[in-house]
Amino acid sequence: MPIEFKRNQAVLHDVVGVEEAEGLLEWLQSKPAAKVDLARLRHLHTANLQVLMASRPAVSAWPEDRELRAWLEPALKPMP
């Protein structure tokens, strides 16, 4: 599974496809204080990005992939 749901943290790795978005959304809805770990993520489908952008969970680790991090960090940084 590209997403590992732990007690209070979702770990995304490799490539997260469009079919994961629904599950991610449900999980984040049920755990408003959850964190996400993106360290080993290489790509995520736009639908997932959208879910993350809408829920803005705390990010415990940014992707090691610097290019992906450059995309995600501005989009997911906490709202001012």
Binding site: E22, L68, A70
Partner: protein, 814 residues
């Protein structure tokens, strides 16, 4: 070029012409439902065809056209002249794309924007409700004005990098990509597409509107949009976004735009005061007057130099606008409204004329005025006016982004017609009758050309003028050469690759092997081999029969094959090659082969061979009995083959075009069927023989050899005459007897008989004739009318001296 693409292009051209013709027909009869239906069908087919290739631009235009015609067909919108115009334009666009495909085998990304605009212009004709239903429409015509990129969102580092690249001569593009809301359902991943943008400098994902609360968020609706900054060229970007051209907007940025983020900030939410402060840094009021004036002078001189540069047509407009933008700002600082008006007028003229000399002259004339005007405004002279306040007063305080090739400026250039585009089609379709006529004419030319040697001979023998005779022969050789080349050229026109027939086999083999539960791999070889059109066409049916037979009787089921220790997948090879003036087609399978014993028994049971033959016939000949009429070896008659007609039909079809077919088989190893066909049916090689003072032609295909046999070595076996030739006994028959001529064969001075060994239906027979003449290439004409009942002759041909040569049908007479 790949044959499929080739065919697509030629069909597209045909369809396009058909569509244009139908549209014109509709002008006269706008309500003719039949024509509308036909039109719809043509556009629909063309669209479907284009979908086979990666030509999304073409498909897009045609799809819009199809939708529009669908509405016309259902009577939802009426046919109008405007509609026809748009459709004709669309077809012209498609033709232009075809021309490009023909030249480069692909469509450049540059077409995509035009395709989008064309599709939108077609959809614009549809009723509003209909238009809204189409999700692909985002922006109606006209093309939206170029928006100013929200530069404020770009981080400083990316902006500076872009600026640096810009100064190094790279073009920097701003891409705004707003994916369609339903794009996830089409398998798009916009983030991926954005990440893959070539030469990406910076990119960001943002939501166009605030995202809804989690509970209301629809995961499968794309609400994001992307902004990208890239140094890729316009072509690269068009190519990259070719599947979503209606969702992206690409703007080229000029360095001045990137260099002036403050101006952008004044436009956006940035506070006014700091902007004014920053802006004033460029022209500080406390700067010494001389320094400012010197700077102004430098600026103007630089513009002047720019205008004097050698110019490239593509850059011209952009450069002119850049200069104009600088001058506009200068006039603003100098504060002379008259000068500003003048400038605009001159700029307009320059752009229209396509040259910058006017602007240069104007600059020369007004330079002093500008400087003095500015000097007058400087502090001390009158009330201080800070540039920033002036900016605000005039509202437009930033240099306009210089959009070098703004599509909006050019408007929609649909005025182009397909005929305007260079490069007419390289192939033309010609009615076969016309080629046949050419063929007949060249045949006549060959015949009348052949009369010249006779004429030369007559000149020498009858009139005794050797000089003239030699000259006639000289002329003859020239005409002969030209006629030969011409004949060859016409032959080439009729040539066709056997791939025409081969291309249907992959599907046929797949379907049949599925049905039979067999695993078959088809190998096609030598598809480029060419032969006369008639030959290739008449090859189709026999080949299908053979392939069916091989699949049905030859190749075994996977279980049987495994048991025999063969790979489960059988191989069927169809191979074409050219050998001298014949085309050889081989159909090879690695199946169970043909058992000669079974064939012999069956043939005997069916009365095809007698008991003596049953004993005598060798395995090789026995196998070839499968071509005899009425023999089928399959235990069960399937719906594919097995009715005992197949191979018989094959033989007669092949023989009809002067071909031969033989089969070789190794029991348990496989079967090879070899068909040998003439390259062309037009010219037949014929050997001329003489019998009882008459000349006859025998097709060279039948001739085995010519021998002279001493009379004493002839033997009589019962009533028939025989001779032993090369160790085998050959029956001899006198041609005179066969043709009902009462004369006996003539003997030559050595008491020898001329024997022409001919092959007739697998048997070699010796024909007793009077003499052999030369071999000639003839154009054989079949008999017509009452003569067509003459089975002893296959046709006639005209000889050079005007006489008619009868061609013997050996198979019939022997």
């Amino acid at each position: 070029m790949n044959p499929l693409l080739d065919q697509f292009l030629s069909e597209s051209r045909e369809f396009s012409q058909g569509i244009a013709a139908k549209l014109l027909q509709l002008e006269d009869a706008p309500s003719d439902q039949g024509v509308i239906n036909e039109l719809f069908r043509l556009v629909h087919t063309l669209k479907g065809n284009s979908g086979l290739f990666t030509f999304p631009e073409m498909t897009r235009v045609l799809h819009a056209g199809e939708d529009l015609l669908g509405l016309v067909r259902n009577g939802q919108i009426a046919y109008s002249r405007e509609l026809a115009d748009r459709l004709l334009e669309a077809i012209d666009l498609v033709m232009a794309m075809c021309a490009e495909i023909e030249a480069t085998e692909q469509i450049g990304g540059s077409w995509s924007q035009e395709a989008v605009r064309m599709a939108e212009s077609l959809r614009a004709l549809m009723p509003a409700v209909e238009a809204e239903a189409k999700t692909s429409i985002r922006t109606p015509l006209p093309a939206p004005p170029v928006e100013l990129p929200p530069l404020a969102g770009i981080p400083e580092a990316a902006r500076l990098e872009a600026l640096r690249q810009c100064h190094e001569g790279e073009t920097v593009h701003w891409v705004s990509y707003a994916p369609a809301p339903d794009c996830f359902f089409q398998g798009d991943d916009p983030l991926y597409l954005a990440r893959q943008t070539p030469s990406l400098l910076w990119g960001s994902a943002r939501s166009a509107e605030p995202l809804p609360a989690l509970a209301e968020l629809d995961t499968y609706r794309c609400l994001l949009e992307f902004h990208l900054l890239t140094t890729a060229s316009r072509e690269e970007l068009d190519e990259h976004f070719r599947y979503v051209p209606d969702q992206v907007r690409i703007t080229q940025l000029a360095p001045s735009w990137l260099a002036d983020p403050e101006a952008a900030l004044t436009e956006s939410e940035a506070p006014k005061a700091p902007a004014a402060e920053r802006a004033s840094q460029t022209a500080r009021p406390d700067q010494p007057v001389e320094e400012q004036l010197a700077a102004l002078d430098t600026i103007l001189t630089a513009q002047f130099e720019i205008l004097q540069l050698e110019d490239h047509p593509d850059w011209f407009a952009g450069r002119l606008r850049a200069v104009a933008a600088v001058l506009r700002n200068v006039t603003r600082v100098a504060g002379d409204p008259n000068t500003a008006g003048e400038l605009e007028a001159v700029l307009g003229e320059c752009l229209a004329a396509g040259q910058g000399s006017l602007l240069r002259l104007w600059l020369e004339a007004s330079k002093e005025q500008l400087i003095s005007g500015h000097a007058a405004q400087l502090p001390g002279a009158s009330a201080p006016v800070t540039p920033s306040s002036q900016r605000q007063a005039e509202g437009k305080a930033y240099p306009e982004p210089d959009v070098a090739k703004a599509p909006a400026d050019e408007g929609i250039k649909f005025g182009r017609r397909a005929e305007d585009s260079p490069g007419a089609p390289r192939s033309l379709k010609v009615d076969q009758a016309k080629i046949d006529r050419l063929m007949n004419l060249i045949g006549e030319l060959v015949v009348s050309k052949n009369a010249l040697p006779y004429l030369a001979q007559r000149a020498e023998t009858q009139f005794g003028v050797r000089e003239l005779s030699r000259e006639i022969k000289g002329e003859y050789s020239t005409i002969n050469r030209i006629a030969d080349e011409m004949q060859d050229a016409i032959m080439q026109v009729r040539m066709m690759a056997v791939s025409f027939v081969f291309q249907r086999f992959p599907r046929l083999v797949r379907d049949i092997s599925r049905k039979l539960g067999k695993e078959v791999q088809l190998v096609l070889d030598g598809e480029q081999t060419e032969a006369d059109k008639n030959i290739v066409e008449s090859l189709a049916d026999p080949l299908i029969h053979i392939v069916r037979n091989s699949l049905d009787h030859g190749l075994e089921t996977p279980q049987v094959r495994r048991a025999c220790g063969k790979p489960e997948t059988g191989t069927l090879t169809i191979r074409a090659s050219q050998e001298a003036d014949r085309v050889i087609i081989e159909i090879v399978d690695d199946g169970k082969g043909i058992d000669p014993a079974i064939i012999k028994r069956k043939a005997y049971e069916k009365g095809l061979i007698d008991e003596a033959a049953l004993e005598r016939i060798d395995d090789r000949d026995a196998v070839n009995l499968i071509f005899a009429a009425g023999l089928s070896t399959a235990e069960v008659i399937s719906d594919l083959s097995g009715r005992g007609v197949g191979m018989d039909v094959v033989r007669s079809a092949v023989e009809k075009i002067n071909g031969t077919v033989v089969v070789e088989s190794q029991l348990g190893k496989g079967t090879t069927i070899r068909i040998s066909l003439p390259l062309s049916m037009a010219v037949t090689q014929v050997m001329i023989i003489e019998s009882d003072g008459q000349l006859f032609g025998v097709p060279m295909d039948n001739v085995v050899e010519t021998v002279r046999v001493p009379r004493r070595s002839l033997h009589h076996i019962k009533q028939s005459l025989t001779a032993v030739l090369r160790g085998r006994t050959v029956p001899l028959k006198a041609l005179n007897t066969l043709l009902g001529i009462s004369a006996n064969p003539k003997l030559n001075s050595y008491d020898e008989l001329a024997v022409l060994l001919v092959q007739a239906g697998g048997e070699v027979v010796g024909l007793l004739v009077d003499g052999f003449k030369e071999t000639v290439g003839l154009i054989q004409k079949p008999f017509g009318g009452i003569l067509s009942g003459l089975s002893a002759f296959s046709g006639s041909a005209l000889m050079g001296d005007g006489s008619v040569l009868m061609i013997l049908n050996i198979r019939e007479i022997v």
